[in-house]
Amino acid sequence: MIKIGGIKRTTVLLTLLTVVMFGFGYALVPLYDVFCEVTGLNGKTARIYGKEASKLVVDKERFVTIQFDSNINGNLAWKLKADQKFLKANPGKFYVATYTVENMINEEIVGQAIPSVTPQIASLYLKKAECFCFKSQVLKPGEKKKLTVRFEIDKDIPKDVESLTLSYTFFRALKDKKRVS
């Protein structure tokens, strides 16, 4: 019993399903980003804007230790160093930390810093007002530069987080023309 119409219909439906699933693969990308943002996975740091910043209350009782870490990705001839090893911060108060970056070769390079926080849960509560990672950095041959990040630790940070690490990795920026892939 061959159902010719049925064959056509099944084929069309299944082809449609194939296309939908291809789309689903791509939909996983924004889904993943939203998921990471909500849960703080991925260590991507949060931001704080003017309005919220003006309403902060400082918690003088509590200290959270922030350790600073720096890395350079494989194909970038830069040197990056945190100017302070660590900092004890009261939640609700703004702090400034600085890094020194230096271009080690005779060539202008564009770099991009990517932040990461561990433990991951803490990344939701480390909020930045200003950061050198918000835009890419251009260094002339041999140039040395001070970089700053201004942030606060949110007062709702879980009690068991007594210390956290803020780490930056510099990559050669995608828009750097001479970037080798």
Binding site: I7, V19, F22, F24, L28, Y32
Partner: protein
């Protein structure tokens, strides 16, 4: 539609001859045969790569190949075996058997069938051609994790397009199978009378359609990351390499069931035949297969326990993974219960099926161990994982394919194969596959990492044993080729029934079946399956 055309003129059993018969074939049996021969060739190509791997690992130190080439051996071996040997063998069996099991004259979409086959040699030409390119063949592992895979040389786009073509081919095959089973069953062949091989293939086909496009998406993202400046997986541009692993394994775990479900179907055909009893718990087999398939989309991160998942994620994926063991257990139970008090005989297909039940279960157990999050931190990326997936894939999927070949060869060729040689082939395979892979459990537990051409000396003894087992297993497979050729060329005439205990429409046809199978739809009754 061409199926109709077929049905109209198939009284005269005419067929094209020579090369044209194969190039332009729309006949399900010819295409099935081409798939099977192709997969056997790929089995030997992939097998030769395994021989090189085992030769290099025979002793510590670097003896034969440089590490880069070793890595491309590991990578291409896996791709060839998965996409070239096991999957096409399954599709070949489906092509040959499904129409004659459900009483249809041919597949629903014969022209697409021809195309889906001929894409395959083309795709593998792309993949294997990379060995002759600057930078060599892909060496970043079959899992193609970025950023490593992005360092692939000229071979990179060829790898991606080969994967695309293989995906397209298998999706076309899957659509064809579902269209055939849903629309071309003989009267009386209700869904719950379908032979289990047909059921497992329908479910496999849905898995293929749902998962292969996701892989296609993932590799397309790799391609645009490398050449078009996107940053899906590039941290410098705000992407995340771990995202690739999520997408890949969302495909990857269903993929392992794509490899094993048809094997479950085969075993469910063979055991009743040689136990001379109907399959125990037919309905529960169907539901178990379907639940395995659905669950397989919710366990992917058990391949990623060590990437830094949150604790709740680790727990969810651990429990979900454990859950799959339940329907799998139902299946094993049903196979054993089918044999219980059966009048069993031990022809070669049955021997392979029995070995499958035992050895696949061992692979399932090591899988359970790997599924326990805290211990996987130790086992991950060691030889324990290699042992696990070879138990489920070689002594699992490949043994089932061997069983099916012996089971259906008489039906395909009209001749009985040489039972004595086949038994020798079975024992050599069963013994040496274990010599090959069992020691790898110990190596893994002791901490030997996978995908490394050299190792520290305390691993030397087990590696030597494993390599010896590997060479012996590899050589024994030549015997299989000899047996198949001998059977094709001649031998005792096979009856239509072939096996005393075999039940189902395919055994009502002559051996070999006529070029066009069921010219008139047979009537299917319950008695057809009775003992």
């Amino acid at each position: 539609m061409s199926t109709k055309a077929h049905a109209d003129h198939d009284h005269h059993d005419h067929k094209p001859t020579g090369i044209k018969r194969w190039l332009f074939s729309t006949n399900h049996k010819d295409i099935g045969t081409m798939y099977l021969v192709f997969s056997l060739i790929m089995f030997f190509i992939g097998g030769s790569m395994a021989m090189i791997i085992r030769a290099e690992l025979f002793q510590p130190g670097l003896q034969f190949v440089d590490p880069q080439f070793y890595n491309s051996m590991v990578t291409v071996h896996a791709l060839v075996m998965i996409f070239g040997a096991i999957m096409p063998a399954g599709v070949g069996l489906a092509n040959w058997m499904i129409p004659i099991m459900i009483g249809a004259p041919d597949m629903a979409l014969p022209r697409m069938n021809n195309m889906s086959f001929w894409i395959m040699p083309f795709a593998f030409a792309l993949l294997l051609g990379t060995f002759f390119m600057e930078g060599g063949a892909p060496a970043g592992g079959w899992t193609m994790y970025p950023p490593l895979v992005l360092q692939t040389g000229k071979a990179f786009p060829f790898l991606i397009f080969a994967v695309h073509f293989l995906g397209i081919s298998s999706i076309m095959g899957a659509i064809n199978i579902i269209a055939t089973v849903f629309n071309m069953r003989a009267p009386g062949m209700t869904l719950m009378r379908l032979p289990l091989f047909v059921w497992t293939w329908v479910i496999t086909a849905f898995l293929l359609i749902a998962s292969m496009p996701v892989l296609a998406g993932a590799v397309t993202m790799l391609l645009t990351d490398k050449y078009f400046g996107t940053s899906f997986f590039n941290a410098a541009g705000g992407g995340d390499p771990v995202l690739f692993q999520h997408i890949f394994w969302f495909f990857g775990h269903p993929e392992v069931y794509i490899l094993i479900l048809p094997a479950f179907g085969i075993i469910s055909q063979i055991i009743p035949t040689f136990a001379r009893k109907p399959l125990f718990g037919y309905a529960s087999m169907v539901y178990a297969t379907a639940s395995i398939a659905i669950l397989s989309f919710f366990v992917w991160a058990h391949h990623m326990f060590t990437v830094g998942l949150p604790i709740n994620g680790e727990l969810f994926f651990m429990y979900a993974t454990m859950l799959i063991a339940v329907p799998t257990g139902v299946k094993v139970f049903n196979w054993v219960a089918t044999m219980w008090k059966g009048a069993m005989t031990f022809e070669t297909p049955m021997l392979f099926a029995l070995a499958f039940v035992i050895l696949f279960t061992i692979g399932g157990f090591s899988g359970l161990m790997l599924g326990i999050t805290p211990v996987d931190f130790q086992y991950h990326d060691t030889y324990f994982v290699v042992a696990h997936f070879h138990y489920v894939l070689l002594t699992g999927a490949v043994f089932a394919l061997m069983a099916s070949a012996y089971y259906w060869l008489p039906k395909w060729t009209g001749h009985m194969y040489d039972e004595k040689l086949a038994k020798i082939h079975f024992w050599l395979s069963a013994i040496f596959a274990n010599v090959l892979f069992f020691p790898q459990h110990f190596l893994g537990l002791a901490g030997m990492p996978r995908r490394i051409p050299d190792y520290s000396v305390q691993f030397a003894d087990f590696n030597m044993v494993s390599s010896l087992g590997g060479f012996a297993y590899g050589i024994s497979q030549l015997l299989f080729v000899y047996i198949v050729i001998k059977c094709v060329l001649g031998g005792k005439k096979a009856t239509g029934q072939v096996w005393e205990g075999a039940r189902g429409l395919e055994w009502t046809l002559s051996s070999p079946p006529p070029y066009h199978s069921f010219t008139k739809s047979p009537k299917v009754t319950k008695a057809l399956m009775d003992y």
